[in-house]
């Protein structure tokens, strides 16, 4: 065999390795960079802050990853968060549990709505959820009379600020969601069917998979997780702020998913990659703030990082 044929596989292997592990490498690299160049980076409190801030994006992104796995997209997540936020104060009087349940149910209903539009009416995911993105926030504001409401229920606020065994509740919730998502994708028929539907919908239909049910299920999960993220963010904020909560969340979540190596073309879901994608974007954000870069530079740097990360993680055609 010639040296060319030997060299090619090595390069291919490096590329394939990067494609699989690039996002972890990037997170580690960024941590190392910060440890060296950022003052006061190495502290428990700081890591805690980063994890807490990444948690809502991470939760939403996990739902988004499932949707993207079916070759869909869910633009409505930010608005669902805002609907959840709007509902919380209305039901907090009946106790935090009721309020949280109501919010999550609202998320499920939103997901059901998008899911039915996509699965049964055959409307493009991007446009079905775009309608909810536009209308959903309006709905939330109508429900809340456009008002920000300060919350005082301690038990509820503890969701945002409390700890369990020294781990912030928000981080714990995100971790549980991640583990469940991982199991769902790898170990359940639903998960495998989801990936198959994303890989080839026509073939999945002919293979007798419950394609519509899978699609609706995926949007319901995404809606529920978005609502959950909305609840947690509201608790952390100490106020229900339907006007601003979750703005542009869809883009952050999609970025986390794609940077984490899940292709937008569906047929594949990388759960751990998504978690690290969210962490990576959080760290980038933190680094830019800590180095006090102006908004202009910050946005351009983020753009560059997204491009590089996705470039490395992209699916290569075998040429």
């Amino acid at each position: 065999m010639t040296s060319a044929t030997l060299a090619a596989p090595t390069r291919a292997r490096t590329a394939a390795w990067l494609q699989n592990y690039g996002v972890y490498v990037a997170v580690v690299a960024l941590v190392v960079f910060n440890v060296v160049f950022t003052e006061n980076f190495v502290s428990a409190a700081n890591f805690r802050t980063q994890l807490v801030q990444a948690a809502p994006v991470c939760i939403v992104a996990l739902g988004m990853a499932l949707v993207i796995g079916t070759e869909g997209i869910d633009l409505s997540v930010g608005s669902v968060m805002s609907i959840a936020a709007a509902l919380i104060p209305l039901y907090l009087g009946a106790g935090p549990l009721v309020a949280v349940l109501v919010a999550v149910v609202a998320g499920i209903v939103s997901g059901l709505f998008s899911g039915v539009l996509v699965a049964y009416l055959g409307i493009q995911p991007i446009i079905a959820t775009l309608a909810l993105l536009v209308g959903g926030r309006g709905l939330a504001l109508v429900v809340a009379h456009g008002q920000l409401v300060q919350l005082h229920n301690r038990d509820f606020l503890a969701l945002g600020t409390g700890d369990v065994l020294g781990i912030p509740v928000m981080v714990l919730v995100a971790a549980v969601v991640a583990v469940l998502a991982g199991l769902l994708v790898q170990r359940t028929t639903f998960g495998r069917q989801l990936v198959a539907v994303g890989g080839n919908r026509a073939a999945s239909t002919l293979a007798g998979l419950p394609v519509r049910r899978v699609l609706v299920g995926v949007y319901v999960i995404s809606g529920a997780l978005a609502a959950l993220a909305g609840v947690l963010s509201t608790a952390r904020l100490g106020a229900s702020d339907p006007n601003d909560l979750g703005l542009l969340m869809e883009l952050s979540a999609i970025t986390a998913v794609v940077v984490g190596g899940t292709p937008l073309t569906g047929g594949r879901v990388r759960v751990l990659g998504t978690v690290f994608g969210a962490l990576l974007m959080q760290l980038v954000h933190a680094t830019l703030i800590k180095h006090n870069l102006p908004d202009s530079t910050a946005q351009m740097v983020q753009a560059a990082i997204i491009v590089v990360a996705v470039y490395v993680a992209r699916e290569r055609s075998s040429r």
Binding site: Q186, T188, A196, G208
Partner: protein
């Protein structure tokens, strides 16, 4: 057609297209291993080999779809490195790739002329001329549909003819055809051969891939045999006995290959009286007109007809994958809910679809997952996937069907066409069906695998499965089926049984159906 190449002249004429020492590696496979091969002007050169031997890969290397890892490609004596198919086409190499590669939503005429649309003096696309030219061109290939209709409204076979028309209508010096007849039916195959003869007369070099032996001997001058990515033979075809060619392809001794006839089907089956599936007056939105049929356990029911006669539509309707205006399907006494594939599947009806690329494989899933897909709920207690149960079944079927993959974890997209087909067959067998609807099951499968699949169909019927076999290869129907329904224009035109099932009678029935109305 006879071999016209004179050995004396062919030595002096430089090859139009030539590769030397080409290797191409994919993750897990060495698809081409030091391949050297030459295509001379004016010859029809057969490229044969088992599924996965590397034929399509070689074609893709020749035409710039893939870059070889080593070795070189020469065109008219000059070393070339086509970086994309466009460059090969500019150099006068026109290719019909294995899977139909056209644009479904675009008009038929648009597809024929895509990239080289006739233009007005102002440089704008001249639609009127384009449609007129396309109409004239396609009429030669027996396609008389409105050329302004989107391509996807044609059946697969007709699409293949469009692709052929497109490839041939460029003034190419070399035409490469990767299994052009696999979705054609006898009449269309004859059309194709007429075209081939014309090209041959014009001195155009043709590289021809097919798994159908008779075709090769009819049209080809020379043959190159690939096995496991290596060239094992290259030479004039007429001198090579058929048996020896097969043995070269399969890499087995001639003695071990029993020549049993063209197909591997056995004797008649023992058929039960009570049908397992009974369809009454199926009426489709598009085509079907009151199709009724029954399938009995242990029986192979053949379905014959012209392109677009409604065979595929019938099969899809039976599994509920096709909207129906009326009709009922009863399986084992229970009527199926219309339009629900899962219900049909639960009742034990499975369809191996015609187009494996769009309706069959899930490309980015592994061989294992593709096989287990339909049986997944059964293999997964409480909706939790059990890998061991999966593996057991996957192993059984990979062995039984001799699926060639580097491992069950290989992506199914990386398999050769024939092996993909076997994976799909395995998918259905894994569900343990009562009725198997096979729409062109041996399309694009090599001789070895084809015999295996045919023997398998036989065996399945013997085990008591009801089988519906759709095939455009008459001998397959004649040898394999216990009963043949001839469809014409969406309706059952004739039913042939027992001794009546001969090629002549089936052809005659098809012809009658086609001309009656």
């Amino acid at each position: 057609m006879t071999a016209v190449t004179d050995p004396g002249t062919s030595r002096t004429t430089a090859p139009v297209l030539e590769v030397t020492g080409v290797s191409k590696r994919f993750p897990g496979t060495l698809a081409l291993d030091d391949v050297s091969f030459a295509l001379r002007p004016g010859e029809v050169h057969a490229l044969v080999g088992e599924n996965g031997a590397g034929k399509s890969t070689l074609i893709k290397v020749l035409t710039g779809v893939y870059q070889p890892d080593s070795g070189e490609v020469r065109h008219l004596g000059h070393t070339v490195a086509f970086r994309r198919p466009a460059e090969a086409q500019q150099a006068g190499i026109s290719t019909i790739y294995q899977e139909v590669n056209l644009v479904p939503l675009m008009s038929i005429a648009g597809n024929v002329f895509l990239g080289r649309e006739p233009r007005t003096r102002a440089g704008l696309v001249d639609w009127r001329r384009m449609n007129a030219e396309a109409r004239a061109l396609l009429a030669d290939y027996g396609i008389t549909d409105d050329v302004r209709r989107p391509l996807h409204t044609l059946g697969v076979g007709a699409q293949q003819m469009v692709a052929l028309a497109r490839a041939v209508s460029t003034d190419a010096k070399v035409v490469i055809m990767d299994e052009p007849t696999s979705s054609l039916e006898p009449r269309e195959v004859e059309k194709l051969f007429e075209v081939l003869a014309r090209l041959h007369a014009q001195g155009i070099a043709i590289l021809y891939v097919s798994h159908r032996m008779d075709e090769l001997y009819r049209v080809c001058d020379r043959v190159t045999v690939l096995r496991d990515g290596r060239v094992v033979h290259s030479g004039p075809l007429a001198e090579l006995p058929r048996l020896e060619l097969v043995s070269l392809m399969l890499g087995r001794e001639i003695g071990k290959i029993r020549e049993e006839g063209v197909t591997a089907f056995g004797e008649e089956h023992e058929v039960e009286r009570e049908p397992v599936l009974r369809a009454e007056k199926l009426r489709g939105v598009r085509k079907l007109r009151d199709v009724s049929l029954t399938i009995r356990p242990g029986e192979v029911l053949g379905l014959a007809g012209l392109l677009g006669s409604g065979r595929s539509e019938t099969a899809r309707a039976l599994v509920g994958a096709f909207p129906l205006d009326g009709g009922t399907v009863v399986v084992a006494g229970k009527p199926l809910k219309r339009g629900r594939v899962p219900a049909a599947m639960r009742a034990g009806v499975a369809l191996l679809a015609e187009d494996r690329k769009t309706d069959g494989i899930i490309p980015n899933l592994s061989v294992r997952e593709n096989i287990a897909l339909a049986a997944l709920p059964r293999l997964s207690p409480f909706g939790l996937v059990s890998k061991s149960k999966q593996d057991r079944i996957v192993r059984v079927f990979m062995e039984r069907l001799r699926i060639k993959a580097s491992s069950p974890d290989q992506k199914v997209a990386e398999l050769s066409g024939g092996n993909q087909q076997k994976v799909l067959l395995a998918r259905w067998l894994a569900t343990g069906p009562r009725v198997l609807l096979l729409d062109e099951p041996t399309r694009g499968i090599d001789v070895g695998a084809k015999a295996e699949v045919q023997a398998l169909i036989d065996e399945l019927a013997r085990e008591g499965l009801g089988v519906l076999l759709i095939s455009s290869e008459l001998e397959e129907l004649v040898d394999g089926a216990d009963r043949v329904l001839v469809l014409s224009d969406g309706a059952v035109a004739e039913e042939l049984t027992g001794q009546d099932i001969t090629e002549e009678k089936v052809l005659a029935a098809i012809a009658r159906g086609g001309h009656d109305d």
